[in-house]
Structures are given as structure tokens and as C-alpha cells.
């Protein structure tokens, strides 16, 4: 198939970016989106041009490294997949495809489609962990946990930290990421003693990193490749209110 690509090119963090048009010729429908970019890059390299820079690693939807906003939607229009799992058969011959980086001022562009997502690492470093060593994986059922709590913690822990929630949000809010990372620890007995400390620290770091504020439009949930639920956001709101109340009174 033959396509026209409109790609964001930016030479470096401080350079001005712009949209550049490239033809993508003879792309097999079985290629993944990143393989399509690989083919285009091979052509650019042959012509002596700078290839299009983009992030990728596992290429099987589990590492959270690939990004790209495709036709205005992070990871493209197909639900519950990452860009590396998106295949060209979902496009039509002759399509024009817009490819931009994940946009948020807290995710500065480093080069072309590569953005700096270390703001997420700083949020995790502020509270997304358990202080004491809890040992290796416990024997099944040695710590009784309600099925509902176990399921919700597991679903929250499925977050791969790719940042699609931020990129999809009209306000570049990181609430879905932060709430999932807080919930998967807060739901379980090992995480509960530090729940208040964790919630306050992670929300304050998130605010300090310059992410926007959630306006409950749920674009994040719709864009999330792991279908993390906005129930986690409701829970984080509730936990934050309780933590602030306890901090103020105790």
C-alpha cells in the first residue's frame, strides 16, 4: 500500500519543530506501524537524509516505550493496543497519516517523535514503592486478600507507564497514571501502611511536574493500551481527601 505521512520533525529539545511530508511506498499490509516507519527510514538513510527518530523497545506491547500520536490519537485509533501492536491493515491505500509526538509540556520533545517521560519516573520515585522489604513473591493465599481487591490491584498494576493517558488528555493530566500506580499498592496489605504518605507525595510531585488537571472527560481511559479504569482516579480523589484530612488533624 502507498501512504502519505505527515511527520513531526524537530532537530533537538530547543529547536522549532514542523510537520514534514513523506511518501511511504510499497508498505505491506502485514507490517506493524513501527515496521512501516523502519521501511520509510531505510529509504531516508539511502537518500542520505536524517531518519525519523522514534521510541521503541519490546515491540510486543508490554514495555511502554513506544509512543506516537497517530491521526490525533495516542497509539492510534484501535482500542487497547500500543503503537507497536498497530498494523497497517487498519489503514487504506492512499491514506494520509499524521504522526506526532505525545504532546504535554511535562513531556518535552527530545528529537522528532521522542519525548522525555522521566516526569513519570520522578512521580514513582516520590512514593510509588513500599519502604520495607516485603520478601519475594509470597505463597498463594498465604496473605488472604479479597478477590475484588486482588483483581483491582492487578488491573491497576497492568499500567505500563507509556504516557498515552497524558497525551490523550485535553489538559495533559497524569491522573490515570498516578492513580493506577497508587491504587495497585494501596489496594494490597503490603502497601496500606504508607497509603497516606504515598498518595500525598505522588499527587504533589505530579502537580509540581506541571501536568494539567483532570476534567473527567475520560479520554485517558479510551486511549490507554491496557484499559486502565478511571475508577482508579475516583479512588485517588477519595484517598487524597482522606489523607489531607488526616494530615491536617493528626
Amino acid at each position: 500500500m502507498n501512504l502519505t505521512l505527515k511527520v513531526w520533525r524537530q532537530a533537538g529539545p530547543n529547536a522549532d519543530g514542523h510537520i514534514e511530508t513523506y511518501p511511504a511506498k510499497d508498505i505491506p499490509a502485514s507490517a506493524s506501524f513501527l515496521e512501516m516507519l523502519d521501511i520509510v527510514n531505510e529509504g531516508l538513510i539511502e537518500q542520505g537524509e536524517e531518519p525519523i527518530h522514534f521510541d521503541h523497545d519490546c515491540r510486543e506491547g508490554i514495555c511502554g516505550m513506544c509512543s506516537l500520536t497517530i491521526n490525533g490519537v495516542p497509539h492510534g485509533d484501535e482500542r487497547a493496543i500500543t503503537t507497536c501492536q498497530l498494523h497497517m491493515r487498519h489503514f487504506n491505500d492512499g491514506d494520509t497519516i499524521w504522526i506526532e509526538p505525545f504532546r504535554a509540556n511535562s513531556f518535552p520533545v527530545l528529537k522528532d517523535l521522542v519525548v522525555d517521560r522521566t516526569a513519570f519516573d520522578r512521580i514513582i520515585a516520590s512514593g510509588g514503592y513500599i519502604d520495607v522489604r516485603t520478601g519475594s513473591a509470597p505463597d498463594a493465599n498465604s496473605v488472604p486478600i479479597d478477590k475484588k481487591d486482588a483483581d483491582e490491584a492487578f488491573e491497576a498494576a497492568a499500567c505500563i507507564g507509556c504516557g498515552a493517558c497524558v497525551a490523550a488528555c485535553k489538559n495533559a493530566s497524569a491522573m490515570l497514571f498516578v492513580s493506577a500506580k497508587a491504587a495497585h499498592l494501596n489496594k494490597l496489605p503490603q502497601g496500606q501502611p504508607e497509603k497516606d504518605k504515598r498518595v500525598l507525595a505522588m499527587v504533589r510531585t505530579m502537580d509540581g511536574e506541571g501536568f494539567g488537571n483532570c476534567t473527567n472527560q475520560y479520554e485517558c481511559e479510551a486511549a490507554c493500551p491496557k484499559e486502565i479504569s478511571v475508577d482508579n482516579i475516583a479512588k485517588l480523589n477519595r484517598d487524597y481527601l482522606a489523607a489531607v484530612a488526616r494530615e491536617a488533624t493528626v
Binding site: R103, A168, C169, K170, V203, D207, G210, N237, L241, E247
Partner: protein, 226 residues
């Protein structure tokens, strides 16, 4: 600074804290709108019933109740507006725009909240000057003796009625997102209850809108009260 004031400042300065202020004040307005509409609809019951209601409202608790309500509402309004304007400014600063924008599923009403809200704010200022402060001397005179007649004469002004209708339609849009959004912000919902709350919110928004606009439309277009 005490621990409590420090915590309050941190709460106000945080994204979730400010949103909780917006949600709580929003729910105060949602409750107020239902009461206000029920009172206003007495205009269709008759002159006597409406005037008796107005008299009761103004003399409840020796005239103290209405002032208590006004203080709570005005305070809520200031907090709601200051918090939302500040949150919106932060949101705009956080996000550069895409060359190709798309929306997956966010509702239209959720995307125009600041504009529907600011129009409703302009309307509230006008509405208070119109019927509470009564800057128009004719309405001020009528208001003392016959509040029912004041409402009729007030809405016989086409410009005032049309602005009222436009503001109510935008209020409907504002409530259609705001109602269920408040429950999410306060953490009082889940994926089980969210669709129901969204439906109730939209139904409530439509009822409030139709209820309020029925008054100027009956007076201006159907000559009610002539």
C-alpha cells in the same frame, strides 16, 4: 502558620483539592437550582400563591434565612469561579496543541465547560441586578408589592427573556457534564454507577433547563399574565 492553615493552603494549591472545591460548590448549586425552580414554577399556580411564597421566603427566620442562603451561594460562586478559572489556565499551560487534533469520546459539553460557565456567570450577575437588586425602578416598585407582576413585566422585555433562554441552554450543557463529574471528583462513583449518574445528570440538566425557560417563553410568546 498552624498545621491546619498550612494543610488548607496545600489543599487549595493542589489539583485535586481545587477540583474538590469545584465539585462541592457545584453540588450546592445543583441543590439550589432544584429549590429555585420549584419556587419559580409557582408563577403558574397563580399570583397569590407566588406572592405568598415570596413573602414566606423573605420572612423565614425573621428574614435571616434568605441572607444565610445568599451568603452561602455567593461564597460558593466565588470559590467555584476562581477555582475553575485557575484550573483552566493551568490546563492550557500544560498542553501544547496537536497539528491534527482528535477527540476519542469526550462529550461536547465537557469541552466547553469554561465557556458555558462564564456565560452563566454573566447571566447570574444580570439576573441578580434584574430581580434581586432590581436596578430597574419600575420592577423595584412592583417587587415590593407584587413579585408575581414583577416577574411578568420583567420577562415581557424580549432582550431579557432571550438572554435568559440562551443562558439556560448553556446551563443545561454545563450541568450535563458537571453533575456526574462532581461525583467522580469526590470519588463517589465507580464503573458500575457511573453510567447511571451520567444519565441522571443529563436528565436533571434537561429538566432544569425546560423548567426555567418555560417561564419567559409562556410570558413572552404566549402572553401569560397579561
Amino acid at each position: 502558620m498552624t498545621t491546619l492553615t498550612r494543610s488548607l493552603c496545600a489543599f487549595w494549591n493542589s489539583s485535586i483539592g481545587k477540583k474538590i472545591v469545584v465539585a462541592v460548590t457545584g453540588l450546592i448549586f445543583i441543590a439550589f437550582l432544584a429549590g429555585h425552580l420549584i419556587g419559580n414554577l409557582l408563577v403558574f399556580v397563580g399570583q397569590e400563591a407566588f406572592n405568598e411564597y415570596a413573602h414566606w421566603l423573605h420572612h423565614l427566620g425573621h428574614g435571616g434565612a434568605i441572607w444565610a442562603a445568599r451568603i452561602v451561594l455567593l461564597g460558593s460562586l466565588v470559590l467555584h469561579v476562581v477555582a475553575t478559572v485557575s484550573l483552566t489556565r493551568a490546563n492550557r499551560a500544560a498542553r501544547p496543541s496537536y497539528a491534527k487534533e482528535d477527540t476519542i469520546q469526550a462529550s461536547r459539553s465537557s469541552r466547553v465547560m469554561i465557556w458555558s460557565g462564564l456565560t452563566v456567570l454573566a447571566f447570574i450577575i444580570f439576573h441578580i441586578l434584574h430581580y434581586t437588586v432590581r436596578v430597574d425602578s419600575q420592577l423595584a416598585e412592583l417587587g415590593k408589592e407584587d413579585p408575581w407582576k414583577m416577574v411578568i413585566v420583567g420577562f415581557q422585555n424580549p432582550a431579557a427573556s432571550i438572554f435568559y433562554v440562551i443562558a439556560m441552554v448553556l446551563l443545561c450543557s454545563h450541568l450535563a457534564h458537571g453533575f456526574s463529574s462532581a461525583f467522580q471528583t469526590l470519588g463517589l462513583n465507580s464503573s458500575k454507577t457511573r453510567p447511571t449518574l451520567q444519565l441522571i445528570g443529563k436528565a436533571y440538566a434537561v429538566l432544569i433547563c425546560l423548567g426555567f425557560i418555560s417561564i419567559p417563553i409562556s410570558i413572552l410568546f404566549f402572553g401569560y399574565g397579561n
